[in-house]
Symmetry: C2
């Protein structure tokens, strides 16, 4: 049997396909823009062609194909119930790809695939209990319990961005309010900065300058850049973000008692000091017994976590 | 091999010992006041004698002994690291009981034992993913992931009372602030009622009457009684409690995606309408996909959960 698998990271703007050895070593990779307008048929064809190209390069067939996708997925049959970025609903994607590629195919949520990547090949290696939180535009994660990735009852485990931590709190993307994501998600950091500057323009001069004077171009990235320049408003916003992340991580640490807590995603990559701030805060706020064996790390596989994890999943399911 | 085990619920005021069949049927039970002043030696002797009595009644030896105790426990050797109710620190309790009884002994946290009881013989039967939250004086719980009770990295998993849900929030028993328990734990409900009445005595007339005019005798139970009598302040306090519980349960539902959510403990038993209030609130606040297969129930084994669960644990470990 082959000792490599195909990992696919299917996003709203690009598709990444890689051939990955069992050890996590990447053999080859292909990147292409996602043909969102072409719908499932076009995208399935893009992926099929990418897989064929990698099979040719590797001179053979992989053990299977794993796909990570930002979607809510029915896990038994691999049906995409809802993928907002792709405008898909109820697409039997796993079945379709199986028919096209004649290979075993496994579909999972993109964030859970990335958590798999971190667990098997990144900062989570060897952890029997792990929480991986990705703080990007949104916030999501993956949870390993008793040495197994947690799927949950309806395959949605790991939605750690929607833990209520503020009351009544700000409106969240999920329709609720006060969620962790409503303060610490990338979209929320940008929005909070814009609102702060709208009510006190003088405090936002540095950020406005960084955004070429365009208030609505101010994003989480702008806030991170201004923080590095010691801008007071940016410092305030980052502290508020860190406090929210400390509360969310503390909730998870007390409830789950993980050994390893991994932080990744654009907001963390943009300002890695978050890892230290969160570790310090959680170790102060959580129950001492719950943190006695806990270590924090930044995600190690970076942008590769998605394809690595999807390939690992394919390997695991054989 | 015998088809029954001994379950022990060791509390700060009483010890309960029961012989329990694999099916969960209780054969015999003994209750005695805990000899706290006698220290570990006296209590170990109390338990030994109770076990001998049950063995005589059942005409033979059990497969093993399980003990649930309100303590932080080192799981490998069953050492009690800290049991505040008993004033114990670093007691090799599992080893001591093994030597005395010449039976296999397993020690676990009392709340986790009760969660085991609910999982195997109560409202959690058959659930692959379950959260059991006990709202008593304090708040704790047990979590079943992938069909296994979660111990966690340092055996403290299930401390769901110490999820931060309010900011900055009220001081909590754990030394932090804003925890779920700091609003919804029995001690906190009583304290919030007392504080409210202290600042507006007229609003508290009904509760004061129920507590024979003694402000400092007002407890969670008083608030529940006044709520049943449609007292407006009690109604407000119960709503605030329910909101906090909804936030805490929503956090767990979104992060873990359980199939079954079980609520028990004195506060819930005292006002069972909490189960409906929480179910309604969580189903509104959590992600729809995370609640699609979720059901809520009141704990079914009541005060028996502790001994049933401890016996089940002994059975499970053979």
């Amino acid at each position: 049997m082959a000792n490599w698998a195909i990992g696919v990271d299917l996003g709203g703007t690009k598709i990444e396909i890689a051939s990955v050895e069992r050890s996590g070593e990447m053999l080859n990779r292909i990147r292409m823009p996602t043909d969102v307008d072409g719908g499932p048929t076009a995208i399935e064809k893009q992926i099929q062609e990418g897989i064929e190209e990698l099979c040719k390069k590797n001179n053979g067939d992989p053990v299977g194909v794993g796909v990570g996708i930002a979607a809510q997925i029915e896990s038994e049959q691999g049906v995409i119930l809802n993928a907002p970025n792709l405008h898909w609903k109820d697409v039997p994607f796993q079945e379709n790809l199986k028919t096209l590629t004649k290979l075993p195919v496994t579909i999972t949520n993109d964030v859970r695939a990335a958590a798999w990547g971190e667990w098997l090949h990144g900062s989570g290696q060897g952890a029997k209990e792990m929480i991986c939180m990705f703080v990007g535009t949104g916030i999501g994660g993956g949870i390993v319990c008793n040495g197994q990735m947690l799927g949950g009852c309806s395959n949605t485990a790991g939605e750690v961005g929607h833990m209520p931590i503020r009351h009544p709190g700000l409106p969240c993307s999920c329709g609720s309010s006060g969620c962790l994501e409503s303060i610490a998600g990338g979209w929320a950091i940008g929005k909070r900065a814009q609102n702060a500057i709208r009510s006190d323009r003088s405090a936002g001069m540095q950020m406005l300058k960084l955004a070429d004077g365009q208030l609505d171009h101010i994003s989480a990235k702008t806030v991170s850049q201004a923080y590095e320049l010691k801008d007071p408003l940016a410092k305030y916003l980052i502290q508020e973000t860190a406090e929210a992340l400390i509360d969310g991580c503390t909730a998870l640490v007390n409830a789950f008692n993980p050994c390893r807590f991994i932080l990744g995603g654009g907001v963390i990559e943009g300002l890695p000091i978050f890892v230290d701030l969160i570790e310090e805060g959680v170790k102060k706020k959580a129950l001492p017994a719950a943190t006695s064996k806990l270590s924090f790390s930044k995600a190690a596989t970076g942008n590769d976590a998605g394809v690595l994890g999807a390939a690992a999943l394919a390997m695991n399911n054989q």
